[in-house]
């Protein structure tokens, strides 16, 4: 893949950071946006803007059609059975809160168990914590092994007759471990336990096929998929959306309203209260087109190449310790450097235009377990090249020079 060509499609790379060329290695946090996405939003506001679905005039018709086209594109992208299974949310966090809140409210009772893993992002723990508090439920944490993975056997061990949901990440945003989702779904479906997958690090980087994965819920953040901020997606099997109660209430999600009672339409309408992120959803259609133009297989191949090159190169530096050694790894390299706090690393790298993340990456449980307060993380996107890795590697050497000389 010609990364020069790809990079040229992202306006951000035309800028300098601290006088240096930008080496963006923070895509797991949020990805940059191609010009087509940025321009689509501008064009929409400049030529087509109107609120969606509520007015009869021509602008509203256009806006509604453009908006709903994104739902169709997304249905195809994740291979959902029907467009009604795609619900627009604010971000993946809201998607998971929606499920935890509605499913938890209806199906989780005192003493019931919620099974998550030590790898989970706070987005896939805090919402369940609320249900734990509200319902007196129990959260069980499947242990992460020394490779930074969660074994299917570990999950099997923890499933009981009280398990009401299994909520796991698709790919760890710290160790990069790709979870055995299909196996988990197989296991769970024997006991009729629904499975929620936090797909934040999955959807932008690997092929995501709902019919193949078989999970009940899949949460996505569009801003990590080269899309606008402010949009997330919840994929949910229709059977769930049909029986779960509504989440937020307001305009657009009602059927009949009177003073004593309110009835609701079907999904996805029931879950889309108020004015949605019209322009952002329309803009996101260009992100999906962009990914599909490059081809998810090409993306996977390219990122794997850069990942392996990066792991190799970084490992050579003796003072660097890479976190986790999963058999299947997504496009993430978290690491520590002996004697240097990750924040200091990030600051020094930034001087060379290298943007990485330092912190617990919203995974305090995992960091506690590893005995770390924080780590440094380089994460890849479609636009990264081997040259980026070389610059990263040199910047890491500089850290050592400043601190360990």
């Amino acid at each position: 893949m010609d990364t020069k060509d790809i990079k040229s499609k992202f306006p951000i790379f035309r800028n300098k950071v601290n006088g240096k060329q930008l080496v963006y290695l923070d895509s797991a946090n949020s990805s940059q946006k191609p010009k087509t996405v940025i321009d689509r939003i501008s064009k929409f506001y400049s030529k087509e803007f109107s609120n969606v679905g509520r007015s009869v005039h021509s602008l509203a018709v256009t806006a509604t059609n453009r908006f709903e086209e994104t739902r169709d594109l997304m249905q195809k992208y994740v291979n959902a059975k029907s467009r009604e299974e795609i619900v627009f949310t604010k971000n993946a966090t809201e998607a998971i809160n929606l499920v935890a809140s509605t499913y938890g409210e209806k199906f989780i009772e005192s003493g019931d168990e919620i099974l998550i893993t030590e790898l989970e992002h706070h987005a896939n723990y805090v919402p369940w914590h609320f249900i734990r508090e509200k319902k007196g439920a129990i959260i069980k944490f499947a242990k992460c092994n020394e490779r930074g993975e969660v074994d299917i056997d570990e999950i099997k061990k923890l499933v009981t007759n009280k398990t009401k949901i299994i909520a796991v990440t698709h790919i760890s945003n710290v160790t990069g471990a790709i979870m055995p989702i299909k196996k988990i779904v197989d296991l769970a479906s024997q006991k009729k336990i629904p499975v929620l997958v936090d797909g934040c690090q999955g959807a932008p980087h690997v092929k995501v096929d709902m019919q193949e994965l078989g999970c009940d819920f899949y949460a996505i953040s569009c801003h990590k998929m080269y899309g606008p901020t402010g949009v997330g997606i919840l994929y949910a099997k229709k059977k769930w959306l049909d029986i779960l109660p509504p989440y937020q209430g307001g305009g657009g999600m009602i059927d009949q309203v009177n003073k004593d009672n309110i009835s609701f339409p079907g999904s996805p309408t029931k879950y889309e209260a108020g004015t949605l992120q019209t322009a952002e959803v329309v803009g996101f259609s260009e992100s999906i087109k962009f990914i599909e133009d490059v081809g998810i297989k090409n993306i996977m191949k390219h990122e794997k190449e850069i990942l392996e090159y990066g792991l190799e190169k970084i490992k050579k530096n003796n003072s660097v310790k890479i976190i986790g050694e999963p058999k299947n790894r997504g496009s993430i390299i978290s690491f520590t450097i002996k004697g240097i706090h990750p924040h200091d690393i990030a600051t020094i790298l930034d001087e060379d235009g290298v943007a990485i993340r330092a912190g617990h990456h919203c995974c305090q449980i995992l960091h506690d377990k590893m005995g770390l307060a924080a780590s440094a993380r380089a994460s890849l996107g479609i636009y990264n090249s081997k040259e980026d890795i070389d610059i990263l590697s040199n910047a890491i050497k500089k850290c050592n020079k400043i601190f360990n000389n």
Binding site: G53, R54, V56, A60, V61, T64, N65, E84, I254, D255, Q256, P265, G266, T269
Partner: protein
């Protein structure tokens, strides 16, 4: 696109003087339809006899000229027909409105044809398609005997 294409004389006439707008006494099936966005409502009553013929059909409801005219035209055209024929007409109608196809039925009289065709202008007004199709969807639900309210949102 001239607005007169949408609001043809036939439609305005049916809108103002809807045919079969009542609760027919002999109905044995009925269903309700609702378009929550605009508030159009329709309630279809029909008598399906033992030979699966639509012995009678009528409607009640309120809504825009398009939805009322469409319900009126529908009842006028399918009343007295076999259910199978009526279903064909319904499919034909939906294809015309949604895809702009020509009517394929050749068992309709010229007047029936002209009357149905008067609604063809709707296809160029996407926001109004739901108004035109509400009664027709609801008719099918009534025959099915389904209890759920037809909701054009879904």
């Amino acid at each position: 696109m001239d607005i007169k294409e949408l609001y043809q004389e036939i439609i305005l006439d049916h809108g103002k003087n809807p045919r079969n707008k009542n609760i027919c006494k002999d109905f044995n099936k009925d269903a309700k339809g609702h378009n929550p966005l605009c508030g159009d409502k329709v309630h279809i009553y029909l008598k399906l006899d033992n030979e699966k013929k639509l012995a009678n059909i009528s409607f009640e409801g309120e809504g825009c000229a398009i939805s009322m005219a469409s319900a009126s035209i529908m009842t006028e055209i399918i009343k007295g027909k076999e259910f199978n024929v009526a279903k064909k007409i319904q499919e034909d109608f939906l294809n015309m409105i949604k895809k702009g196809s020509k009517l394929s039925m050749n068992s309709l009289s010229d007047t029936e044809n002209t009357t149905m065709m008067s609604l063809s202008g709707v296809k160029r007004f996407p926001m109004r398609v739901k108004c035109a199709t509400l009664a027709w969807h609801t008719f099918l639900e009534a025959v099915k005997g389904s209890k759920k309210i037809v909701n054009t949102e879904n």
